[in-house]
């Protein structure tokens, strides 16, 4: 990609448990120029009948992205920093394979545009050394973008984990999830 001031010492740390559902990140995400003022972040009620708990989900920028592998049009690419980019506008044929195959439920199909869009780590910002919009506004620390050392200082009882298990599949990601100290992976569905 174009710019080379991407800061490789900074990482994304998410802690969905801390999400208070304020939607500030969603508003901030809509400011991102690369997604044409459409918010790409997901803020959901986890189980509305049982709890008011909300959860936040950004693209995890997988090391071996399922979305890119199932794309029939080669529209999704990963760059040298590990950022998995939103669909190439000229190529995407809006088949929704990525929407359905992403284990984190991240990509969205924008039907009128015949295009998939997703979080691309605010590439307009991160490529010039800034933090993603969502991480600059999250008031509860559910989204944090910075150095590993700083995170360790802020969350001494948590460990950043970037390995997930979905059934038989192990997925490694660029983005970390904050887990109880000592954890090595998050098992999403083991049964």
């Amino acid at each position: 990609m174009n710019t080379t001031t991407f800061r490789t010492d900074q990482e994304f740390f998410i802690d969905p448990q801390r999400c208070i559902g304020c939607h500030a990140c969603e508003m901030a995400c809509a400011e991102c120029e690369t997604n044409g003022q459409q918010p790409m972040i997901h803020v959901d009620y986890v189980d509305r009948y049982l709890t008011p708990q909300t959860s936040v989900q950004v693209c995890m920028h997988c090391e071996d992205p399922t979305c890119a592998k199932v794309c029939p049009a080669d529209a999704i690419t990963k760059d040298e920093f590990g950022v998995v980019h939103s669909a190439n506008h000229a190529r995407c044929i809006a088949c929704s394979n990525c929407v359905q195959a992403c284990p984190f439920g991240v990509p969205r199909k924008i039907t009128p545009m015949d295009l998939m869009m997703k979080c691309n780590l605010c590439y307009d910002r991160t490529s010039v050394g800034k933090r993603p919009m969502c991480a600059t506004v999250c008031p509860s620390g559910a989204l944090y973008y910075g150095t590993r050392e700083k995170m360790r200082e802020l969350r001494p009882n948590s460990t950043p984990v970037n390995q997930f298990r979905f059934g038989q599949q192990v997925v490694k990601t660029k983005v970390n999830i904050m887990m109880p100290k000592g954890a090595t992976e998050l098992v999403v569905d083991a049964q």
Binding site: E33, D114, I177
Partner: protein, 348 residues
């Protein structure tokens, strides 16, 4: 290099190229109607034919692409083909010719793309038949003011030299150049001013195609302007630079951004596939209990994911991919909560 050669694709591409050469020989009546001045263009086209078909075949061999390719043709050749043919026609007018989906991405962008696509289509429609010798113009014997048009060696029409038909035919490439230049200007402006585009664009991926189109159009237009206003003084320069830029376009067609011209019709297949899916059973998310996609698509994605080496199967025989995107996000949030709960503290 040969260790990575895809034999099947090479064979198909070789056959397609031979067919093209045969069609050129037949269509130009053994090159009798072939214009020798266009020989460099001809070799560019033949190379592009091989490379485009080769790349297309390699691309089709990818499991997700193959799945849609087969599904699309199956629907068109099924017993219930009528609604699919109608869908195809509708799609052809609204999305392919009308390019509604690009206008929905932005008005200026839609107009810019339409101008470029219109100009290029017109230019292709004129250039390829001329280069292949399939169409040629001859003065009607016995006079100097009537032209005859021959198609595959057969006379199809004649027109007077000073008529609107002559104007339209002989200036078609000039008009196409003007359309392309206007479109390129709109797109360049966007690439210079839109912060999001500036962040993700690349020179070879986004600027080079625009510059190449501009160079082709300017030199093409230059040939006519030079002829009209400069008595052909710059003809050699214009003709050579035009040939170089067009041949670069043809050689680059299979590799760069222009490949989307070839790839894009796959969108038709998706439209048919969606229609077929809507007519069949729908997938209901075990978490949200709502319909979120067609069952056909969910099952196909599961197959394709398995084929390329992902195994999202759970022990109970279901799959993580049976959940809707929202369901998947909820599963992750619940698993995270449980991990925190098990550790004895919700935060840390």
């Amino acid at each position: 290099m040969f260790s990575t050669l895809n034999i099947r694709a090479a064979l198909i591409a070789g056959t397609a190229t031979l067919l093209l050469v045969a069609a050129i020989l037949v269509g130009s009546r053994n090159l009798n109607n072939f214009d020798a001045a266009l020989v460099a263009y001809l070799f560019g086209c033949i190379f592009a034919c091989f490379a485009v078909v080769y790349r297309y075949c390699v691309w089709l061999q990818r499991p997700p692409t193959w799945k849609y390719f087969v599904r699309g043709w199956e629907l068109l050749f099924s017993r219930h083909f009528v609604p699919y043919v109608l869908e195809l026609v509708k799609h052809l007018f609204t999305q392919f010719i009308g390019q509604k989906f690009i206008r929905n991405r932005g008005t200026a962008r839609g107009v810019g793309h339409m101008l470029m696509a219109g100009g290029c289509t017109l230019a292709f429609a004129v250039t390829f038949p001329l280069v292949f010798g399939w169409v040629n113009f001859q003065l009607k014997p016995g006079g100097i003011d009537t032209y005859e048009v021959y198609n595959f060696g057969f006379k199809v029409m004649e027109f007077p030299l000073h008529s609107w038909v002559a104007e339209a035919l002989f200036n078609a490439l000039n008009w196409s150049a003007i359309l392309v230049i206007a479109g390129v200007m709109i797109m360049m402006r966007r690439r210079l001013t839109h912060a999001g585009q500036i962040a993700i664009q690349t020179f070879e991926g986004d600027w080079l195609p625009l510059l190449l189109l501009l160079a082709i159009s300017l030199t093409g237009l230059g040939i006519s302007l030079d002829y009209k206003f400069m008595e052909g003084k710059a003809h050699q320069f214009m003709a050579i630079t035009h040939a170089i830029t067009v041949i670069l376009f043809l050689i680059w067609l299979p590799f760069g951004k222009f490949y989307h011209i070839i790839q894009r019709p796959a969108q038709f297949g998706i439209a048919l596939y969606r229609k077929a899916g809507e007519a069949g059973p729908q997938a209901i998310c075990p978490h949200t209990k709502l319909v979120y996609d067609t069952k056909l698509h969910v099952d196909d994605v599961k197959d394709v994911a398995a084929e390329i080496g992902f195994n999202y199967a759970r022990k109970d025989g279901t799959s993580h991919l049976d959940y809707s995107p929202q369901g998947k996000r909820a599963l992750l949030a619940k698993a995270h909560l449980k991990a925190r709960q098990d550790s004895g503290a919700f935060f840390g």
